[in-house]
């Protein structure tokens, strides 16, 4: 009996699934074009690329969708040119972030007998230099302010921003933290600096942990939305994914 019940339930689920599938309309060129434009505007370059590839496949397999070649000749080329330009700068930013992180070498407190002040100066000057370098890369390839704004929403830009905001500090914290504590410990004149440094380190670690946790939560919500056939559109509105 339980086996029969299970079979019945499985059939019911299968029918419901088929009905749900039948109730969705295949994405057409207009929808894919709109999706690609939106993805591009919100800086999701891989998603924009995927939508454009699908759109090309649709009009290639069924030319009726594009009677006068409006999509192929007029609408897609400017969008693709912009996407390629942004992807190229995003690649440069990725390479920049990787290299910059590899080349970050905080001063050695034991060799240089540095103080917390030296470390702060080091981080400040390094972050300033890296920020200028990154902004130079962007300015060299992107003249249009709108495209710069789009780039600032990409994962590559976010990565470079993390480098400037937390990674440099984290690297300094890892390299110098214990050494500084060891160097300052026992010196009553440096006790207040030592205390502040410990606090800063804790706050920094907490901020990084919070960011990672929030990123994880956002990912889970996005997965749940995608499973329900929804996505988060412009202005935070829920939109249906076809």
């Amino acid at each position: 009996m339980p086996a029969r019940k299970g079979l019945f339930l499985a059939l019911l689920l299968l029918l419901a699934g088929n009905r749900l599938r039948a109730a969705t309309v295949e994405a057409d060129p207009h929808e894919l074009y709109t999706r690609a434009s939106k993805d591009l505007t919100r800086g999701d370059l891989p998603a924009a690329n995927a939508a454009l590839a699908r759109l090309h496949a649709v009009i290639k397999s069924s030319p009726g969708w594009d009677p006068e070649g409006v999509f192929a000749r007029e609408l897609l080329p400017p969008l693709e040119t912009r996407l390629k330009r942004l992807e190229s700068v995003a690649d440069k930013l990725d390479r920049f972030s990787t290299m910059a992180l590899e080349e970050l070498h905080p001063p050695d407190p034991l060799k240089d007998t540095s103080t917390v002040r030296n470390y702060t100066d080091w981080v400040t000057s390094v972050v300033r230099r890296l920020r200028a370098e990154r902004d130079r890369i962007i300015a060299a390839d992107l003249v249009n302010p709108e495209e710069r704004a789009i780039l600032s929403r990409t994962e590559s830009y976010a990565r470079s921003q993390r480098l400037l905001e937390t990674d440099a500090l984290r690297k300094m914290g890892i390299a110098a933290g214990d050494d500084i504590i060891g160097l300052l410990a026992g010196d009553p004149n440096q006790e207040s600096i030592l205390l502040r440094f410990r606090q800063l380190k804790l706050e920094l670690m907490q901020a990084v942990a919070d960011r990672d946790r929030l990123n994880g939560e956002v990912g889970r919500y996005q997965q749940a939305l995608a499973a329900a056939g929804m996505t988060l559109g412009a202005g935070g509105r829920l939109e249906t994914v076809a």
């Binding site: 109730a23 309309v25 207009h30 929808e31 009677p67 409006v70």
Partner: protein
Amino acid sequence: MSYSRRCLLLQGTILAAAIVSGCATAPERQPQPTLTFEEHTLRIPLTVQANGSVSLAESPPLIGRIDLSPILKAEGISAAAKIRPVVQLMVHYGRFYVVADGFRSVWEITPQPGSSAASYRSIPIAADGGARPVKDGRLSRFGSSQSSCLRLDRANGPPIFITPKGEAANACP
């Protein structure tokens, strides 16, 4: 036959000959010249106002207003409902086509140049042999440059094509 009658007959013959020759040499009406013309939009979603009108300025560069009240009334849809209906509009070679969820027809609106009036008509679409209202409808263009149709995809039936003749069909000719 008297002289005067012969004169009249002669004059009549000359007149008739002149008319005939005149007709033969009159310039023939030339067909109007044509040029390449492609005109259409992507589909435009528009929110219906409480008074039943939609503002084209929602989607620039189109501007203006269309009163859809008669169409909504015919479809049995209330514009004053709490959730405002959203219609889909597409301009296709000078004509406007409107559809929305719950419609049983695609509506064709033909502007009357030089006036603020437009004629309209329904193009009934029968889903699955009945008259089920459109669900998740989407207007697109489909066909070739010689025969471009308006295509309506929907969740509750196969695609419908509005042919260049303005008829609903299962395929674009």
